[in-house]
Symmetry: C2
């Protein structure tokens, strides 16, 4: 019987992952480990599939996308934009949904890596995963802080947070709540929160950020928003962290007979084509999805060509002025 | 230099695809072609990567999903449901967006096949692609008629079309338009159209189905709906082929000061969690996404175990009675 990968691992007294990394020349490994694995490969006369792979074209022409969930319209439209643009350049995409689960994210990453994609575009929200340190795989991140080596493409979250807060204040809201994700996550979206809190303080208003988990259902979220109105009966403005949350808040307000914009001003975030088409009344901050996709691809291609790139690319956001934030300051 | 796949192809005077098919034992090939390719492999002493692959575990534990676009909430939620359930069973998913482009669909299919997924769940809308005839890859289709060998999981589109049309008629609408995709496509959604047309005729009403292309933008669709109201000023009911279209129609009606439900009754289709959460007023037909995902996986697993399956699995739909279809028959 021919030797298997796991035989090599056993022989060298290392994990299968380590053998795989040596074979693919990826990840941080000591020279000692590399030598030990190579020796085991020789002694067992193991024939790895990479050799066979190199008989083919070495490029796979596949770009991996790793997103929390494409069921969120922001990621759905981002995935679509990336797919269209990459296809025009001769690449296909394969998408993994991490569901913001770091175990899942890590599994997908290993899988995508072991399937040898030419590059990876990551838009997930989990904390630093070691696999992102794989050395020879070009990676760019969208709207997420990875590690120092990986360039991040993002929209101007600080400016977006400021615009959103300002539009509420300018139209007369004083008791403004901001909903955001857990503070531990290292996302550029944290800057929206910072901008909100700084802008509130600059106007002598008290910031109040309510954190929501990502993975809860629409029904659970609605329940939280119901409770929010109970806990803070004086709310007159909400800056929601995304448009889906804003749409749910609109719905809850309607069911509770809270009039928007008369009693409550509301601003969302993301401004996808879908939201603007089916809920054009919702004031929101538009993230430039198409430009972000374009930039992510440009930077990824640079990385694939071993060219130097910046660490961060910040693209401008714009305000979509709907009717949910219009109220005369006198009111 | 070691021989490559293309050297084998040249030597045997066949395409690279044909060589790949022989190596993977897939697709319809004559014995003559198979012999010719095998002879070329022997003469050149070509070593295909499948051999090396078999040194590893033969299972990839990856299921491929091929959908038109995850930017549509129905497919976004379906992909999420499939991903969650498959992950629990130890599988990961990779998603390809075909954008209803048969060239793209075919490219993805070849790619997914060449990456040797363990199985494939297809929800695209294009016409018969030859690759679906690959023999050794377990495939199930969702909401799409493939070929005779591939089981289809679908919701009860005829019943859904009938329910949608009935609710409009029961509330007093007479000039009812149905929007649907191009009639050439062999989708079970065609049964919605059939149900609409038969139900209209059974009530002595004249059916009028307007066909829309899939790949047009929200803006283009809105333009079409604007024109629709111009062309048919007497419309008092619309059965839209999906909720996104219904949401756009709601928006166009609002902009044209057509009151819903007073002047126009409206029913959508799909009833995703998202639609029901952010647009609960929209009457729609709920496709049981979760159950469809569950069934698709059960059937795929059966196919992977070489067990027999039915040709078609039809799951029940339900009516979501919102306010867009409520009008007293007297009106």
């Amino acid at each position: 019987m021919r030797p298997k990968l796991e035989d090599v691992a056993k022989h060298a007294n290392v994990s299968k992952t380590t053998v795989s990394r040596v074979l693919n020349n990826r990840g941080y490994l000591s020279q000692k480990t590399i030598d030990k694995v190579n020796q085991a490969i020789e002694e067992l006369n193991y024939q790895p599939n990479v050799v066979a792979r190199q008989l083919y074209n070495k490029k796979t022409n596949i770009i991996g996308l790793l997103f929390p969930t494409v069921a969120n319209p922001f990621f759905g439209e981002l995935a679509e934009a990336l797919e269209k643009k990459l296809y025009e350049k001769g690449y296909k995409v394969l998408i993994g949904n991490s569901m913001n689960d770091s175990k899942k994210e890590s599994d997908y990453l290993n899988q995508l890596l072991s399937e040898q994609v030419d590059g990876l575009i990551v838009g997930t929200h989990n904390q630093g995963i070691q696999e992102y340190k794989y050395e020879n795989l070009p990676i760019v991140a969208i709207d997420r802080v990875m590690n120092e080596d990986i360039p991040v493409i993002e929209s101007d979250n600080y400016q977006g947070g400021k615009l959103a807060t300002k539009v509420l204040i300018d139209h007369g809201a004083k008791n403004i709540i901001h909903t955001n994700g857990p503070i531990e996550l290292e996302t550029p979206a944290k800057r929206r929160r910072l901008a909100y809190e700084e802008t509130m303080k600059a106007h002598d208003l008290i910031p109040n950020t309510v954190t929501l988990d990502f993975n809860i259902s629409y029904q659970e979220k609605k329940k939280i928003f119901y409770d929010l109105f109970e806990s803070y009966p004086g709310i007159d403005g909400i800056f929601a962290s995304n448009d889906m949350d804003a749409a749910l808040i609109l719905q809850v307000a309607k069911e509770k007979n809270i009039r928007v914009p008369e009693d409550l001003l509301l601003v969302g975030y993301d401004g996808t084509l879908m939201t603007r088409s089916i809920l054009p009344d919702l004031t929101t901050i538009i993230q430039p999805i198409d430009e972000m996709a374009e930039m992510a691809i440009t930077i990824l291609m640079k990385r694939m060509d071993k060219k130097e790139t910046e660490k961060e690319y910040i693209l401008p956001v714009t305000l979509w002025q709907g009717n949910t934030s219009k109220k005369t300051p006198a009111n």
